[in-house]
Amino acid sequence: MVFSSVLFLFRFFPLFFLLYYLFPGRMKNVILFLGSLFFYAWGEPVYVLLMLFSTIVDYTHGRLLERFRGRKAAKGILLSSVVINLFVLCFFKYADFLVETVNVLTGSSLPLLHLPLPIGISFYTFQTMSYTIDVYRGEAKVQRNLLDFGVYVTMFPQLIAGPIVKYRDVERRLHQRNVDLLSISAGLKRFCIGMAKKVLLANQMGELWVLVSGMNSREVSATTAWLGIFAYAFQIYFDFSGYSDMAIGMGEMLGFSFPENFNYPYISASVTEFWRRWHISLGSWFREYVYIPLGGNRKGLLRQLLNILIVWMLTGIWHGAGWNFLLWGLWFALALMLEKLFLGKLLSWLPKVVGIFYTILVVLIGWVLFAMESLAGGWEYLSAMAGMTGSILDREALYLGRQYMVLFLISLAASTPFPHMLAGALEKSRTGMGIALYRFGEKLIPAALLLVSIAGIVEASYNPFLYFRF
């Protein structure tokens, strides 16, 4: 079930929250757990067992870690937990990729498994790992209540697309949380804004990208190629951050406070900054559980560069089982290493706008690698962007630019903190007019966005059949 669907908005959402608010205190976790299982099972009736398996395995490991705390066995238990989690993740996500690689390298023809990827597996395995590692390190208390732990793993708002919530971030709230009118109101507004990002911006930009990526890269003009990759950049940002907003918003409605996942990444003045603003919960997971344990920046420059390389290769491959994702990770590793070596210093001397342009360029090239499954396809697309097709601007680009200009401008504005700052300025303004405008807007804008989003969701299924087509 996706959030941006009639089914979710007008069946699951009202029913779930009605029950959730009606039932008292401790029962809320039962509702949340069962609701989440239903939510997941709707699309994945079989894989829900896998998720429950993960839950029980990590719960047990947590209990064992507690029992053997300080003893040698603890390390083995932690290792067992990490191995099981990674095995589950690798088996379902990377098995065919590995088989294909082996086949290519050795000329063998091992059969592919063709397992469908369990939704959200990359997210919830990372969450459960954070739990056992933190319990081992003594940074989180063990969870003795299986239901509370189950709620943590299966919670539907962030189950499918994050943010990756570390156990200790929600530890306290798992058994005690307050929901009041203010948090419901804030959560609902956040939810509506996220929905609008997804339905009104991401989906529309996605249409443009589908159009451009469907063209022959050896023929498109440079302008068309740039329009296409900008569209993709906006699509992936609004899709992902919109989903995070919806998750965070619903988290608030439940009484949780999930970590932020995006912080206007496209205004970054360096790639280092970009990764502090993009998919923050993943970045911080890798920093905490891979980069720092590897020594981070405390073991000399060379070791730091190596650590960056390792972390971003993993980041790349985490996004999908394909060479292009690995390359995408390496591309960022390269930029980050150069920034550590000298580029970062250089950029800090230059005007900020240079850094922003440089970052956007690196990120856009990254998106080409990310979006194009084959390396040859990626290379062709980059060549088109460089004008190697011999055509810089053509009718097509003019037409598409004209069609999507307004959406581009809205997307651009929505990628900056400007709308937020405007709202803040109005709120703090001393004039009655400004405050009135703010009060009015903060209520009506989310509601209006929700209505238009619903129209977008319903329209997506518009399917006129034209019998007199001929």
């Binding site: 009736p45 009118l181 200009m405 209505l451 129209a455 006129p464 034209l466």
Partner: protein, 372 residues
């Protein structure tokens, strides 16, 4: 305190929207059929354990809920208007042109040289065997270029037409393109439909008569009579914007003498126009009773001449104009015919031979022209 009140208003507003729509959705009855989309909507799937674990129950249920969502048509319209506000000029494969014209989009990449060649090969065989005349009508996007959105891509049909001319010879081709281009300022295409109007067909007829080297009947622009003023065609269905209906006209002179029209060898009628369709959505079906595999028209013009037309729906409003020139007109729509075309034609060919006319719009020719 003020903060709390604010929150209460926000919560009631947003939850109110969701709850009201949920309740409204439960109250509203399921529809079997959507007029706007002209299709049967999904109905509630039967629940069973197999359906659930077999995998398609949840999917079907989701389609059902979405198809039956309360005020579905209104939501779709809201979305379309948002697109218009966002300055989009293309919706569902239809260009929103100037002066209220909707024009069907034909992207150049969808029509390849290979496809053109394949169809022309097929056409060439037919022309050689039957000495047929070929009339390929350009679509609105090629002729009403000033109505098209700026820089809007379209498949250039002159590429096809010049190839056809080259292969089968100029004398076998009716140059409709030039004729329509000359009259591009007139109402030769519908605003809400992908067909040409009776006036457009009339200019096509003039081009045909010229190519045949025979004098044209003087139908004249003033000979047109309006039969309905609220036609909303297929392109309107695709974009679903609020639009005014437009007239459908015909030439009463074409039915000045009695005739017998036989549809699919079964049903006969005394006119090539069927007024009953004017009360339905599909008003263009007024011409030749919509699409039939095979239509025979027996006229009262006893000149012994026979015409065999192989056509698409563009011909429906055109064929009646030919009535004064033939004693018998056979009309064949290849989409509904599975037999061997030449054998079939031979059965209907009189001793002294017959004229054969191939009439398609360029796009339908590329997409649909095929025979055994």
């Amino acid at each position: 305190m003020g903060e709390k009140r604010n929150a209460l208003v926000t919560v009631s507003l947003i939850l109110g929207i969701i709850l009201m729509l949920t309740i409204g959705d439960f109250i509203s009855e399921d529809r079997l059929f959507s007029e706007t989309e002209n299709r049967i909507l999904a109905s509630k799937p039967a629940f069973s354990a197999e359906a659930l674990f077999g995998g398609d129950y949840t999917e079907k249920f989701e389609t059902y809920v979405t198809d039956q969502f309360v005020s579905r048509d209104k939501w779709i319209r809201i979305k379309t208007y948002t697109d218009v506000i966002l300055q989009k000029q293309e919706i569902n494969g239809v260009y929103l042109g100037a002066d209220g014209y909707l024009l069907e989009q034909h992207l150049p990449k969808n029509y390849t040289v290979a496809q053109e060649t394949k169809k022309i090969d097929l056409l060439e065989v037919l022309v050689e065997r039957w000495n047929a005349m070929v009339m390929l009508v350009p679509t609105a996007d090629n002729i009403l270029t000033d109505k098209m959105p700026a820089y809007a891509p379209y498949y250039d049909e002159t590429r096809l037409l010049s190839q056809v001319e080259e292969r089968i010879g100029e004398e076998r081709c009716v140059d409709v393109y030039t004729m329509l281009e000359e009259h591009a300022g007139e109402e030769i295409y519908y605003r809400t439909d992908h067909h040409w109007t009776s006036l457009g067909a009339y200019y096509g007829y003039l081009a045909w008569a010229e190519a045949m080297g025979i004098p044209a009947e003087g139908y004249g622009k003033e000979g047109l009579e309006t039969v309905t003023k609220d036609f909303l065609g297929t392109l309107h269905s695709k974009v679903n914007l609020e639009m005014q209906g437009e007239p459908i006209q015909y030439f009463p002179a074409t039915v000045s003498r009695p005739m017998t029209v036989t549809y699919d060898l079964r049903n006969t009628s005394d006119s090539c126009y069927e007024k009953s369709h004017l009360d339905t959505k599909n008003k263009y079906a007024f011409f030749l009773d919509d699409n039939h595999a095979f239509v025979e028209i027996d006229t009262e013009y006893h000149n012994g001449k026979v015409l065999f037309v192989i056509k698409d729906s563009y011909a429906n409003c055109f064929v009646p104009l030919l009535i004064p020139h033939y004693e018998k007109i056979y009309v064949m729509d290849l989409r509904y015919f599975n037999g061997k075309l030449f054998e079939f034609m031979e059965k209907y060919e009189p001793e002294e031979g017959m004229d054969v006319l191939v009439l398609y719009n360029c796009i339908h020719f590329l997409e649909e022209f095929v025979y055994l």
